[in-house]
């Protein structure tokens, strides 16, 4: 499968179909897979693909330096592809300007990641081409159909309200507002982030607990109905704050209330910016 991937990318570059390939490369030093950006067909042999390729490469499509290189080919897993779908829906991607190579996940890939264990879609659906074949019957191989996707959140929610607040107080105190979470997120693409707006200051920019709460509430809510659960923010956080809990609570709320899962398809309307007369309002007096 790797050989096929390399051949294909070499061809794309040499034919001039794309000017840059965004893929994964094995790093001797760390023993892990890192994002790589190939502009020369001769570099294609550096490409790799295995269960350790965690990064969501879609993120790099928003970078001006990548855009400046020309048309890009990007390698996506089925889960990353969801962010591509959201970007397309939000008019952030001209699909003609991107060549999407889907790669399938083998059943034994990344069993240690909770998101992977709960995954039910091992094969990209919107890619221009897909390399590799999906495991025979994915849903069966995975046991249940994603019902444990929120297991970690469920465990967290067993704590009391006060315990949860205390938890976040101590967690968010560590935040230095380096904004790695924002940088890593494929869907944080605003020309000017709200936190950088100073007339008025909606979000206290200080790295106080108050300022950090304001930031993280805003970050999470701005992903409501959009977050695809790639965990890039959590993985990028140098302070090790588990941001995924916040994202997941909103994803689940969108699923439960509006039967909506971000990135599932191009047609369903996202929960924010739309409404239904049937929306529940038991909490409103």
């Amino acid at each position: 499968m790797i050989a096929q991937l390399r051949t294909r990318c070499r061809r794309l570059l040499s034919d001039g179909d794309v000017q840059v390939v965004i893929g994964y490369e094995y790093c001797e030093a760390t023993g892990a897979a890192h994002p790589t950006f190939l502009t020369d067909p001769a570099q294609a042999d550096r490409l790799t693909w295995n269960g350790a390729c965690h990064h969501n490469l879609v993120t790099y499509l928003k970078r001006p330096e990548i855009q400046a290189l020309g048309r890009a080919a990007v390698i996506v897993k089925a889960c990353d592809e969801r962010s591509l779908v959201v970007l397309q829906r939000e008019s952030q991607i001209d699909r003609q300007r991107v060549y999407v190579i889907g790669v399938t996940c083998a059943a034994d890939h990344t069993r240690d990641k909770e998101t992977c264990r709960a995954c039910t879609t091992p094969s990209p659906r919107f890619a221009d081409e897909v390399i590799g074949s999906p495991p025979a019957s994915s849903a069966e191989a995975k046991g249940a159909d994603g019902q444990d996707r929120y297991a970690q959140l469920d465990r967290f929610m067993e704590r009391s309200t006060e315990e949860r607040l205390t938890y976040w107080q101590s967690e968010l105190q560590r935040c230095t507002k380096c904004y790695a979470c924002r940088q890593a997120c494929p869907l944080c693409y605003c020309q000017r982030c709200i936190v950088d707006k100073n007339q008025p200051i909606c979000i206290d920019p200080a790295t106080t607990t108050k300022g950090n709460f304001a930031w993280h509430i805003t970050r999470a809510f701005h992903l409501a109905g959009r977050c695809v659960g790639c965990d890039a923010c959590t993985n990028a956080c140098p302070a090790g704050i588990d941001l995924r809990l916040l994202n997941q609570s909103l994803s689940r709320a969108a699923e439960v209330n509006f039967h909506f899962r971000a990135g599932e398809d191009l047609d369903s309307a996202p929960p924010i910016g739309t409404y239904s007369l049937q929306d529940q309002e038991s909490f409103i007096r």
Partner: protein, 145 residues
């Protein structure tokens, strides 16, 4: 009233066309209620961003009320429906963060419901008095690194 007793600070974000007029009606009918509430008049609950709820806690509010038109009555047809959606999601996030939802109240109060406005303010003030100052968020605002 004793000077030492805790009096909560309540911020109310209300829409211009229903709840604000409901509050006006309470006044016209001289329906008395506690003086703890500060109304911020917005054109519509659709204008009401979630950041404003957080902002209210940041400036020391002990409770927040958000109130607009009943479903079907929105002056702008659908602003309240959009708002309702966002609240459903936002509450979920706040729950996960451990923010006490007893501090946040959502109501639909029409221009004819002066009585309801009075009752709502009485109840919110009373329940917030019982809960005491919102130390949870005050803590967040005070603790420095």
């Amino acid at each position: 009233m004793s000077g030492d007793a805790f009096e909560p600070k309540i911020v109310a974000y209300v829409c211009n066309w229903c709840t604000y007029l409901g509050a006006d009606l309470a006044g016209t009918n001289r329906l008395e209620y506690p003086a703890n509430v500060r109304i911020v008049r917005l054109p519509c609950t659709g204008r009401m961003d979630f950041n404003l709820i957080i902002k209210a806690f940041e400036i020391g509010a002990d409770a927040v009320l958000v109130s607009g038109c009943h479903p079907g009555d929105c002056h702008y047809t659908a602003g309240n429906y959009h708002a309702r959606r966002r609240w459903i999601l936002f509450q979920e996030l706040l729950t996960t963060l451990g923010i006490d939802l007893h501090r946040i109240h959502f109501t639909w109060i029409s221009a004819a419901e002066g009585r309801k406005w009075q009752e709502v303010i009485q109840e919110i003030t009373e329940s917030t008095r019982e809960l005491g100052p919102y130390m949870g968020y005050r803590h967040i605002c005070e603790v420095q690194k």
